[in-house]
Amino acid sequence: MSTVQVAEPKPRLIVPQSVRGAGVSLLGLAVGAGIWELIGRRTQASSFAPFSKTMAALWGMTTSGELPHALESSLQLFGAGLGFAILVGFFLGLLLARIRVLRTGLEPYIAMLYATPMVALIPFILSLFGFEFRAKVIVVTLFGLWPILINTLEGARSVNAELLEVARSYRSSEPKLWWHVIIPYTLPYTMTGVRQGIARSLVGMLASEFLLAASGLGNLILTYTQRFDTAHVLAAVLTITLLATALMAVGRAIENYFARWKAGV
């Protein structure tokens, strides 16, 4: 933390900072697993399972194909929902940024929908679209859409006036203006929205798997909870945690990639 460190007296064993940091982090993980194991051994099997049993359950579900199958089903739902959210959010955001009437008219309603807890609408979506894959994709999309839309809108509105003027003075047509100026300028903003949308879509994915037709990882959690098989439940939760962490890392990587040409940063 403190950058001003004056000559240390005698450097004995020099361990690079990065190695020490990784060591402490690993120690943190090991301690966490140890505590998990201890708690698990001291409580009833029906409420908490030790780390070792959870790992065994994870391995069992992986080799039996149960977990990969559930993961695939969940990822399909997540991918379809987030894909729609990105498509709709991006194009609607661009349109709203370019068409002032639409923007002024819709802005307050978009802000309101962004602040609405979308879970509250799940029963309504159930009545309109049923509880099969289609309805679930709609739920995931509704969760993920808003940050993408709002960030795109904000990005496309903040395009430099000079850039537009130069493009116009070279007689750039509206499609070319979009393709060469507005879309490249907006993409970094959209990607910030996508990163936020990933987290929200994951919540939507699980919520729809819990509340609409049970499937995928949500279904695993529900069925094993009903059997009081905590080892398998925790294994599924752990899988979701790892999946979420990986997806967030991907989101951050995409965001950083596009941020390279973000103006003014």
Partner: protein
């Protein structure tokens, strides 16, 4: 900031003030959306599906709690449950989030020990834990309180941590050269400096708390707006259900507006980078 040059204004004989124009446009769009909803549902959906007209008709009855059959959750009772739980969770989550975030931001060992856990829990949908928590606590308010507190804790903690990490080093150096104690640095310098981050975390937390409360109520079948919505949906009382949905939406909007106002009033020196 409307930097996009509009087409040269046509000579007009009469113009309304810009604010009135904008308001009129917004109201008109709202009406158009409601009409669209009404028409689409009438045309395509079964009769029990909520439409703006039926929802509007249901509002007074729901708010006055008239015609509530026995055994049915009442609106204000449910709203009170949910709002109180959300408030409790916010208080617990924000307090713990500030403390842990500051600790992680100031102490490198704490950072290394905890960072992995905090960011993993932040990334994962906490609602995945609801079924397990039912096993731990039973179908009980504690499930909701835990979910809601975690939902508030994680974004606040990560944001305060971020803010503390970005604290300019010379602030601390000056303070230390005046013999500031660690608690002076933590709460006198690091915390105020990360207030904008804290507020950003607070806004994320509000969203997560409302979603978490409603889902916990759905799944654990707790008294609250979530079960109110579910009950009405299952008994084909969709207009009544939509009133609760609207209430939740307005709650979200109101808290966000309050956070905006607080940012402007309390942190006039802070501008969002736009």
């Amino acid at each position: 900031m409307s930097a996009i040059p509009q087409e040269a204004a046509l000579p007009r004989t009469f113009t309304l003030p810009a604010g009135v124009q904008r308001a009129a446009m917004r109201v008109a769009t709202g009406v158009a959306l409601l009409v669209l909803w009404e028409v689409l549902v009438r045309w395509l959906a079964p009769a029990f599906v909520a439409r703006p007209t039926t929802v509007a008709r249901a509002i007074p009855d729901v708010l006055a709690q008239r015609n509530v059959p026995p055994g049915t959750p009442t609106f204000w009772g449910s709203a009170e449950e949910t709002v109180l739980a959300a408030l409790e969770g916010m208080v617990i989550g924000v307090a713990a989030g500030v403390l842990v975030g500051l600790t992680m931001g100031r102490l490198r060992t704490a950072d290394r020990l905890l960072r992995f856990y905090v960011s993993a829990f932040f990334a994962m949908p906490i609602i995945a834990m609801v079924p397990v928590m039912e096993l731990w606590f039973g179908y009980d308010w504690r499930v909701r309180l835990t979910i809601v507190s975690l939902g508030a804790f994680l974004p606040v903690c990560l944001n305060v941590y971020d803010g503390t990490r970005k604290l300019p080093a010379h602030y601390v150096e000056v303070a230390e050269s005046y013999h500031a104690r660690w608690w002076n640095v933590w709460f006198g310098i690091a915390l105020p400096a990360s207030l904008p981050y804290l507020l950003a975390g607070f806004r994320l937390a509000v969203g997560r708390v409302l979603v978490g409360a409603v889902i916990a109520e759905y799944i654990a079948n707790l008294k609250g707006l979530g079960s109110f919505i579910l009950f009405d949906a299952r008994t084909f009382h969709q207009p009544e259900m939509m009133v609760a949905v609207l209430f939740l939406a307005l709650l979200g909007v109101a808290v966000n507006a309050a956070a905006d106002l607080a940012t402007r009033r309390l942190l006039p020196w802070y501008r969002r980078a736009e």
